[in-house]
Symmetry: C2
Subunit: 187 residues, 2 copies
């Protein structure tokens, strides 16, 4: 995700990316993110600061790149045999992930980036593709699911809005309940 076009995987460029990402992750476990600097990351990664500036432009863009890579799911959503339980299971996991400290930091980092490739939109595209996998599976199984935008509007957006703009605690079953309400046609 971080690699610019034309970079050979496994080459020097990939090694630099891996060591810089690793340096960010380990440093963030040691110091507050407000104190993190590019020279620190460079020193830990064994590269020069200018290597980082050349490749990522600035620190927010680097942090967003690391966040985005972490957010990439290893697997597709669990297949439980039915649309309702697939979506409920996914929504529950999504809420847990986005509400966690790393999830909140990830959201903050992708929103703060100045990268023109918009990590925030890339992040939302990953969410959308996970949802689409569930919907495609449901169609194959003869179900008639709502479309991905409807799931985003009814389940994802209200959760993310609360996480970003509301400091009240969120019901741990909030996203799952939104799925249930959507499928039942209730408010």
């Amino acid at each position: 995700m971080a690699a610019r076009e034309g970079l050979r995987p496994g080459g020097r460029s990939a090694r630099v990316q891996e060591s810089v990402h690793h340096a960010v992750s380990t440093l963030l476990a040691e110091i507050p993110r407000e104190e993190l600097t590019v020279p620190q990351v460079a020193a830990r990664a064994g590269v020069t600061p200018s290597t980082i500036y050349r490749r990522w432009g600035d620190l927010p863009t680097l942090l967003a790149d690391v966040a985005l890579q972490r957010f990439h799911p290893d697997n597709g959503p669990a297949a439980t045999g039915a649309l309702r339980s697939d979506l409920e299971t996914w929504a529950q996991g999504y809420q847990e992930e986005m509400s966690s400290a790393p999830g909140r930091a990830m959201t903050r980092d992708v929103l703060a980036s100045n990268d023109s490739r918009s990590p925030a939109c890339q992040c939302a595209a990953i969410t959308r593709s996970q949802i689409q996998m569930i919907l495609d599976r449901a169609i194959e199984q003869g179900e008639t699911p709502p479309d991905a935008n409807t799931i985003l509007d009814h389940v994802v957006a209200p959760l993310i809005y609360r996480l970003l703009f509301d400091d009240a605690p969120i019901d741990p079953a909030f996203a799952r309940t939104r799925v249930t309400m959507l499928l039942d046609g209730t408010r």
Copy 2:
């Protein structure tokens, strides 16, 4: 909004706030926000940088404070005589404001702040209170409106999610249409 507790309105503290806010606004009209620095703001406002650091802590917090002050509506939502048209009119205006360049910058600034008083939550509280005014008026007029959370979940959250996480163009009537769908009980 910016003033800490115990500051006398009209005193030196209020004058400092006004001149610093004014300096931020005029500088942002001249240079990209990525280039703005505390010493620049201080010079323009005729105060020392340490005055700004002491009062606001850092630049993101100052920017969020200015953004929040601008977001404060001068009036309550327009009274059109009925819940539906009140909410539709408000939703249309809200979308226009939040989609504009100053609105997007405001959202970005309140989300980037490190201020423990959470300008993002203060900003959402202003939105909520505008909605609540419409709902209270409807109840007085004998209508039975949905609650403010329902409006936030169905109208505000999907709009803000798209503005933050989607670079596709948004239908200019999106928020208004969401109000109509909510009141009609359609998806």
